[in-house]
């Protein structure tokens, strides 16, 4: 049944326009850095961006670029180009797309601005290390690696010392590349704004605890860009305040992300960027709303380790203990906490060929959740950017079958 235009209009998130404006301005700023004499750093999504902001360096995120490539459905083409360059089709598609873009300024925005330096934190995967090595050779620019040993069963004293020591190395690296002293007062400001931004982001995600949820994971995938790219700026804080206000308003008015929310689901792993619209409509057609996800919440997960008054000092731990850099059992615990918090009926897991650290272990997480919470799980095999790995018919059938399971459960409960 087609929804009335008016109702549909009412459910659109109004701040979206503002967000697009900010992101456009940001990319123009980054792309004109040469003219304005600013330095550009490419940095991984889990990397320490605040010191860059404090040094007036423009951070650029190849992973965010990868998401744009995926969303504009240019992934398969660019991935093929990377394969022609000798990169296996089994490698992460963000990396493949980015590596293929670099020499020809390809992709939706004509390539990323040339970096003056690369900053790689391996807290998300080993892929970024290899990927940034490739780009450091290509652009012939210095590479800083923040090495964050994985916390399988905890954060050892040895690792703590090691990562802490590297924060100092990082600052020395920045001073050298930028040719100026690090501003320790400025980082305090930036740190405060970063924490404030993360808190706001958490609050925004938390509005989805309401029934109906005013925001879905699909919305969060979009609005996430700022906490990733412009964390530590006032702009991000201002924007998220606006978005939060809008969400609170929606809660007050009972406006949901999905017209008649019946099932509440949790999404695991990266989005399927080239199919977010299709997936969101598919779930909505079953009155199912993805009310939370493990991906966008990763950018506020470190809040539990942050010390606002000693941002630099606590930065090491915040980066070492993020969602992906922990053991599978701790990941399962966090998923279950989220399942409780957002009161979900089931979990949708994206088994993502591109992302091994996120996907290997999902089967065990699935089992743990089933055993401990009795929650059903849907496993979707795909890839976040390379649309050649998406089989629509198969996925549609699986979603339909999963909803039947949820229906059955609902009826059984009366």
């Amino acid at each position: 049944m087609a929804e009335k235009d008016e109702a549909k209009e009412k459910r659109k998130i109004k701040t979206v326009a503002k967000m697009k404006e900010i992101m456009t301005a940001y990319y123009i700023d980054a792309k004109t850095a040469v003219q304005t004499g600013k330095k550009v750093a490419w940095i991984t999504s889990g990397g320490p961006v605040e010191p860059l902001i404090a040094m007036d360096v423009i951070p650029v995120y190849p992973e965010n670029h990868g998401a744009m490539v995926g969303a504009s459905k240019m992934g398969a083409d660019l991935c093929e180009k990377a394969e022609a360059m000798g990169y296996s089709s089994d490698l992460c598609s963000y990396a493949r797309a980015d590596i293929a873009c670099a020499p020809v300024n390809g992709g939706p925005i004509g390539g990323l601005p040339r970096p003056d330096m690369l900053v790689c934190c391996n807290n998300i995967c080993g892929t970024v290390l290899k990927w940034y090595e490739v780009q450091a050779r290509f652009f012939k620019v210095p590479l800083f690696i923040l090495d964050t040993p994985v916390c399988h069963t905890g954060y050892s004293e040895e690792a703590k010392r090691y990562v802490k020591g590297q924060i100092g190395e990082y600052i020395a690296f920045l001073e050298k590349v930028c040719g100026k002293r690090f501003d320790y007062d400025r980082i305090k400001e930036v740190g405060k704004l970063s924490v404030q931004g993360q808190r706001l982001w958490q609050e925004i995600l938390d509005t989805a605890m309401n029934r109906p949820a005013p925001i879905s994971a699909f919305d969060a995938f979009f609005h996430l860009a700022l906490i990733v790219t412009l964390r530590g700026t006032g702009q991000t804080v201002d924007y998220y305040k606006m978005l939060l206000a809008e969400m609170q308003e929606r809660v007050a008015e009972g406006i949901g992300a999905v017209p008649s929310e019946k099932y509440r689901l949790l999404w695991d792993n990266l989005p399927v960027w080239y199919r977010t619209k299709w997936l969101s409509e598919k779930f909505a057609s079953h009155d199912a709303c993805l009310v939370a996800d493990t991906y966008t919440s990763a950018w506020c997960g470190a809040l539990r380790y942050v010390d606002e008054n000693d941002f630099l000092g606590s930065m090491a731990e915040c980066h070492a203990r993020i969602y992906l850099n922990i053991g599978v059992d701790e990941m399962a615990m966090q998923v279950m906490e989220m399942a409780d918090k957002y009161d979900v009926d089931g979990i949708v897991m994206h088994s993502n060929r591109s992302c091994k650290p996120y996907s290997f272990g999902q089967y065990d997480i699935q089992r743990i959740i089933r055993e401990q919470k009795g929650l059903p799980t849907l496993m979707i095999e795909a890839d976040m950017v390379d649309e050649r790995s998406f089989s629509e018919g198969q996925i549609e059938t699986r979603i339909d079958a999963f909803i039947e399971v949820l229906k059955g459960k609902n009826q059984a409960m009366g």
Binding site: C125, K130, L143, D147, S156, G327, K356, F360, D364, E381
Partner: protein
């Protein structure tokens, strides 16, 4: 008549081949006879010397290549056969003799295998050695040392022993003997490829990861000695017979590069195609034994320093062109005429390095060929044709 030494040499090599046919069987027998604890390891960065020093037996796990059934429930199909194979083996009870297992941190797949193993394999102690990924900073060196010290204590606790410096020094000496002997054998193989079949070389190297280390040290030393004698004898015979010998075209000299290669047939097929492997950059080859450990300083520091200095694996970082520089140097040193990349499908670290290594060799004028293998070699004929074409092409 075959000279006496030759018979002895053949016997020793045959012993290694036999062990390789059933490594688990060997280790089970060894455990029953010696009463030693067996500790499985996953990578050439596993600190074997510390395990040895604890009185236990380090045993490198590769996956036996059995069909994947049980591991399907834990690992997706896009995971490398090494990781899936090892999990299958343990879930199916083929590794029930293991007392413990040690996971050095390397790639994303091993990282998750460690978690999955810890959650699903009872009755087998589990230790992570979360090595640094950077190997070229002072901080990383210090971390590596601290971490190995911690491992020494943790392993001692698991095994109920105190590992003394003297234990460590003894273990280092054994490890060094193995490495030195393998280096001699590899050197000879490079000098005179016909002296030893590639599959024999493979068997000797792999045996060093399976057998009782003291025994294998002696065995390898003897083999090295026999081969050196054989080589010297042949040079004399060769110069005496100059001009009369039927000339067999010299095999084309090939270097193998990649990660783990557990396909002994590959050596034979290369030889039959007219090539010979004269050197490698493999974890089942020279990465395992390159670099001796300093016997005269603090043992844990010395172990760490070997890892920092050793030929680097793509899952670690030591400069941007370290591996390419090494590979080009190796091909020059070994006067190799071509490089065959042997990569396991779904192995990210190696797949990321392949294009730039390939480019560096291209610039150095060394032809290359890529062979990607999922779990077993492609159909025999197909591979033979590819190797023949490659060998023919190279000068």
């Amino acid at each position: 008549m075959i000279p006496y030494e030759e018979t002895k040499l053949m016997k020793q090599i045959e012993e290694c081949h036999q062990i390789l046919k059933d490594p688990n069987g060997y280790v089970k027998r060894f455990k029953a006879e010696s009463g030693r604890k067996v500790v499985g390891t996953f990578c050439s960065y596993a600190p074997e010397e510390i395990i040895l020093a604890a009185g236990a037996h380090p045993f490198r796990l590769f996956g036996s290549g059995e069909k994947i059934r049980l591991a399907e429930a834990h690992l997706q199909s896009y995971c490398c056969s090494l990781v899936r194979g090892a999990l299958e083996d343990v879930l199916d009870g083929r590794l029930a003799f293991l007392d413990g297992v040690v996971f050095p941190h390397t790639c994303d797949s091993i990282q998750r295998l460690s978690d999955i193993w810890r959650l699903n394999v009872p009755d087998c102690f589990h230790l992570d050695v979360v090595l640094p990924v950077k190997l070229d900073t002072d901080g990383a060196r210090q971390y590596m040392i601290d971490l190995l010290k911690r491992f020494r204590v943790e392993l001692g606790e698991k095994l109920g022993v105190r590992i003394s410096d003297d234990d460590l020094r003894d273990a280092i000496r054994i490890g060094n003997r193995i490495r030195a002997a393998l280096m001699r054998i590899y050197h000879l193989k490079g000098e005179r490829p016909e002296i030893l079949d590639g599959s024999d070389l493979y068997a000797l190297t792999r045996a060093a990861m399976i057998m009782d280390r003291t025994m294998v040290a002696s065995l390898l030393e003897e083999v090295a000695e026999e081969l050196e004698k054989k080589s010297a004898g042949q040079s004399v015979a060769g110069s005496a017979q100059k001009g009369t010998a039927i000339s067999v075209p010299a095999p084309k000299r090939i270097v193998l590069s990649g990660g783990v290669c557990n396909q002994p047939d590959i050596y034979t097929i290369i030889e039959e195609a007219g090539g010979a492997v004269v050197g490698d950059d493999l974890c089942t080859g020279s990465r395992y034994f390159s670099g001796l450990i300093d016997e005269n300083t603090d043992p844990v520091t010395a172990i760490a320093d070997r890892y920092l200095a050793r030929v680097v694996c793509p899952a670690k970082h030591r400069g941007l062109t370290d591996r390419a520089d090494h590979l080009v140097r190796l091909t020059r040193e070994k006067q190799a005429q071509g490089v065959i990349f042997f990569l396991l499908k779904f192995c990210d670290p190696h797949a990321f390095d392949y294009p730039y290594l390939n480019e560096a060799l291209d610039r150095a004028g060394v032809p290359t060929m890529l062979l990607e293998v999922e779990d077993r070699l492609p159909a025999d004929g197909q591979l033979r044709t590819r190797f023949e074409a490659f060998v023919e092409m190279i000068q």
